[in-house]
């Protein structure tokens, strides 16, 4: 069963944003387009806003062993965005992500009807991303070279786009070929940049939200099957009575939302950031407030009464309860 045809899909929006980024990179090589200069590691936007990839910036700071104020300023902008909204770069901007995403669509299209078994790259293998991030940082410290930046396929692709240096395309092509056997191998298992964004974006406000009154009515598993990062959305989140997909590897790409045939999932902004939660309000209350808002249109008043929980309980099927104690390890900030 595939997702029902819809006018709007997150995949369109997502690919549009990434394509615009690629076009900006492409135009940046010409003198008549001064508004966006540079590659994925560092760019200058509109003549004065410096954007520096946090990992590239960290690599340079560690390799040169000097604090470069201009560089740190450029990193802070992207880091702050990631802290606020989560690892959105992976799902929405990364040019390599766009290529590998289209590669997967192509694979699915060409292999349609043949029932090719997906060789699973389970989401627990994502821990290797963090090890690889650590190894590149460690190598950078001792070798005094931003070693990942010299070999990163993201950079290789960007150099090909910006400077026409097509030598790196071979690596990207090999990666795309490899991903026909191991779907999204780079993003799931290798990418240290994604790992860094996941680390800093663990409290990000943009989340795939779960409607608790709809969750689990028709467990079709489309969300899990469509997740490019291998997150088990249905098993671990929707059926576990969670209110949002808090998996660190979630890139907010919206593929599960597109795949969901019922109004269970939506991509939305959470009400309060973990860092802003005062002692009175718990993380769970914050989530409830959002849910109440979508249910009743007035989240704040509903949660202000002590009965907020009870109200919500009345709306969900009797066999389930919202207030399940959450798994301490997996929920950020609990």
């Amino acid at each position: 069963m595939s997702a029902k045809p819809r006018l709007f899909r997150w995949v369109y929006a997502r690919r549009l944003v990434a394509t615009v980024f690629v076009l900006l990179l492409l135009f940046g090589r010409f003198d008549w387009f001064p508004w966006f200069k540079g590659a994925t590691t560092a760019t200058l936007v509109a003549h004065w806003i410096p954007l520096v990839d946090p990992l590239a910036g960290a690599d340079v700071l560690l390799a040169s062993r000097q604090i470069d104020t201009a560089l740190v300023m450029g990193m802070v902008i992207l880091l702050a965005f990631a802290v606020l909204y989560g690892p959105v770069f992976c799902g929405w901007v990364c040019p390599l992500g766009l290529v590998l995403d289209i590669n997967q669509s192509l694979r699915r299209f060409l292999m349609r009807g043949t029932r090719v078994r997906r060789i699973p790259v389970s989401s627990s293998s994502a821990q290797w991303r963090y090890a690889i991030l650590g190894i590149t940082l460690g190598l950078t410290i001792t070798l005094r070279l931003p070693i990942f930046q010299t070999v990163s396929p993201i950079n290789l692709l960007a150099w090909a786009i910006v400077h026409g240096a097509f030598a790196g395309i071979i690596v990207v092509g090999a990666l795309a070929l490899l991903e026909w056997a191991f779907p999204r191998f780079w993003c799931r298992v290798v990418c240290p940049l994604g790992a860094l964004y996941s680390l800093v974006g663990r409290w990000g406000l943009l989340r795939v939200r779960i409607n608790p009154t709809e969750a689990g009515k028709t467990p079709c598993r489309q969300c899990t099957l469509h997740c490019p990062m291998g997150v088990r959305v249905m098993e671990d989140y929707s059926l576990a009575h969670r209110l949002s997909v808090d998996h660190p590897e979630c890139t907010r790409c919206g593929d599960c939302v597109d795949a969901c045939p019922r109004p269970v999932l939506r991509l939305g902004i959470k009400r309060c950031h973990q860092w802003y939660i005062q002692g009175t309000k718990s993380h769970h209350d914050c989530e409830l407030m959002d849910v109440m808002e979508t249910e009743t249109g007035d989240g704040a008043s509903a949660i202000s009464q002590e009965s907020g929980l009870v109200q919500l309980k009345l709306q969900v099927p009797k066999s389930r309860t919202i207030h399940k104690p959450l798994d301490k390890g997996d929920v950020p900030g609990l």
């Binding site: 200069k37 560092a42 040169s64 201009a70 963090y130 010299t150 070999v151 150099w159 910006v162 030598a167």
Partner: protein
């Protein structure tokens, strides 16, 4: 899978990477190959490679397309860094502009501001006396004509043969570009020999 696991993997990775790096560092005979002529204002080779973020903004900013991006296996650890192929397109020191564009756009301190054109040290021209026409009986002053500092960086000895003054030559490569012999008789040597980095 919990955050603890991820954080453990990160810390273990840093430890492993540091260990591997220290081991690689201790192996003898490691040089910064291949040596490349860097854009003006570049720090010593080791510091430049550590600081350059590989964004290529200097490449797009260069008004003469002198700076190229080194992409390929042959460039080794310099992959993605900028270099100047002086034989093909030398550095014209942003003639007609009031600043050196590559230094102005560099987001890191890899390319550092220079006081004036004379304090640039991109490399050093060196005359190959076995090929140079002037050293082999032909009258030729191509390099002297091209040099931005004639009679200073390139002078003539008493037999009208060009001589490079090592303390004045900035390594822009205009002489290399102008040299009529093929291959060039006045190649520009990269700055690696001059750098004081720990890895040279």
């Amino acid at each position: 899978m919990s955050w603890n696991r991820r954080q453990f993997m990160l810390v273990a990775g840093i430890a492993t990477g540091t260990g591997i790096g220290a081991w690689v560092q201790r192996r003898p005979g490691r040089a910064l190959e291949p040596a490349l002529v860097r854009p003006p204002g570049a720090r010593s080779e080791a510091e430049f490679l550590a600081t350059c973020i590989r964004c290529g903004q200097c490449v797009t900013a260069c008004p003469f397309d002198s700076i190229k991006l080194a992409v390929g296996v042959q460039f080794g650890v310099s992959n993605g860094s900028p270099y100047v192929d002086t034989r093909e397109t030398p550095c014209y020191l942003c003639q007609g502009r009031d600043r050196l564009e590559c230094i102005a756009v560099c987001p890191t301190s890899a390319l550092q501001p220079v006081a004036d054109d004379r304090s640039i040290r991109m490399g050093l021209a060196a005359i190959d006396e076995s090929k140079c026409l002037a050293y082999n009986g032909t009258v030729c002053r191509s390099c002297w004509h091209a040099c931005p500092f004639p009679n200073e960086a390139i002078r003539f000895d008493n037999r009208l043969r060009p001589v490079v003054d090592m303390s004045t030559c900035i390594g822009c490569g205009l002489c290399d570009h102008a040299c009529p012999t093929d291959p060039t008789s006045i190649p520009v040597r990269p700055n690696v020999a001059l750098s004081t980095g720990s890895r040279t």
